[in-house]
Subunit: 141 residues, 4 copies
């Protein structure tokens, strides 16, 4: 499978395992973020842009199989869509090639000075639009 | 607004605030969980059922406004649907009555012995079906 | 026992319980912080002072008994010492009156502009010195 | 410097950075744990021993300099002492060779069935005693 985006390796640490003995579902939100930051960084996009902050607008996760302590997971991320106010990213978390979690995040931008929404910065629009893969044909996420 | 479910008060702690100065989106996953556990507990449903564990199957969050340090948030939860294999819960996170986050979680059950999906335990089915409010009329979440 | 400082109630949440089935030791660092912020706030001391940030300089914890899911814990904090560069706080975490964890933190101040240590702000010095209880007679922490 | 123990590389992730813009002190507790698990694993020592769980008995950290987003940190760990009831480990967290954090943890064992302390399992005693480096000459931690 060709990955137009980028893949980040994460390890399920003891801190990630809950009292059911599996990687807590909430930890995957952090795993996606690690992949997202590296993806933005590889496109020259700053974590702390001038005049606005990227904020999570919507987040969807589908879990197929649990992960366990010390599992090595590969988190891939790619740009699904970019418009004036949001950037949509799609993720897959795989263990040895098998998809454990599918996810999608919609990121908006916030102007802390005005305490109001802000447009997607031009640098983000241009770089992510160029990398855009289009909407997945799968129904959800 | 009548709340058929239950509401839990949480406070945005320093540990929840990220380097953008707002409550990190991932922390809301934990806030939902706190409300969910109290909701289950109030229905006499165990956190650790015999022979299976509740696992997150799908999770959707919509963020409308950021929360800040020491904000008092009210997390309401109610049962939207129950079937043989999943339980669907709907959440609202409010600050002073204003909705900041809407969310939905679909919970499935996992048999650790067989490493396979398990049906919803009868106790969960009965108690949550009795409390069910039906699908929201809002399109998403 | 008279408490010259202040006490904060925390609950052991599902997110705090590790795969040994007990409250993870690292979570107590956050519990101490919750108590510390409320203690500072009750003395009119800001979380974000002008020109410097409070940083952890030293932290010691002694664990006597494990805590479990939904335990209600009382975290007390008091000022042990204040000098030009550090503030020393002492903590006790109790469950139904029984001490589970003892701790001490030494807080210093950092000047982000100069990337260098900063003196304790005068407001902190004065307010915390007035509240100071002196060094505990217990050998450790 | 010869390292008789073992070194683990960790990265300061966005989830680790607090609203002061530095790696939160509490996150270093998790960093130590990641190094400790790999150290135990490399000595053939299980995370989940039969009949008891390793629990934190005492933990001390000394912070010299803040770490920042995406810093690569090297966490070294070595055995300082082993006795009938505790194992003492010593840690250094370095960035590009410079020590940022020094730490020591004392680990005890807990018998969940009896809800009481348990002796250090023989396998842990033997393997860690063989690796023991002795008490550091530094006064603290």
């Amino acid at each position: 499978v060709t990955e137009p985006g980028q893949t980040t390796r994460v390890t399920v640490e003891f801190e990630d395992v809950d009292s059911y003995g599996i990687a807590h579902h909430g930890r995957f939100v952090a795993y996606l973020e690690r992949a997202r930051l590296r993806y933005l960084e590889s496109h020259g996009l700053p974590v702390y842009p001038h005049g606005c902050v990227p904020v999570m607008y919507a987040l969807e996760l589908r879990f197929r199989k649990p992960a366990r302590l010390m599992d090595a997971l590969d988190v891939s991320v790619e740009t699904e869509a970019v418009d004036d106010f949001t950037v949509t990213l799609r993720y897959r978390v795989r263990r040895a090639g098998e998809v454990l979690v599918r996810a999608r995040s919609v990121i908006a931008f916030w102007d802390p000075a005005g305490d109001a929404p802000a447009p997607v910065p031009e640098l983000f629009r241009n770089r992510m639009a160029a990398d855009q893969v289009g909407r997945d044909d799968e129904k959800d996420v």
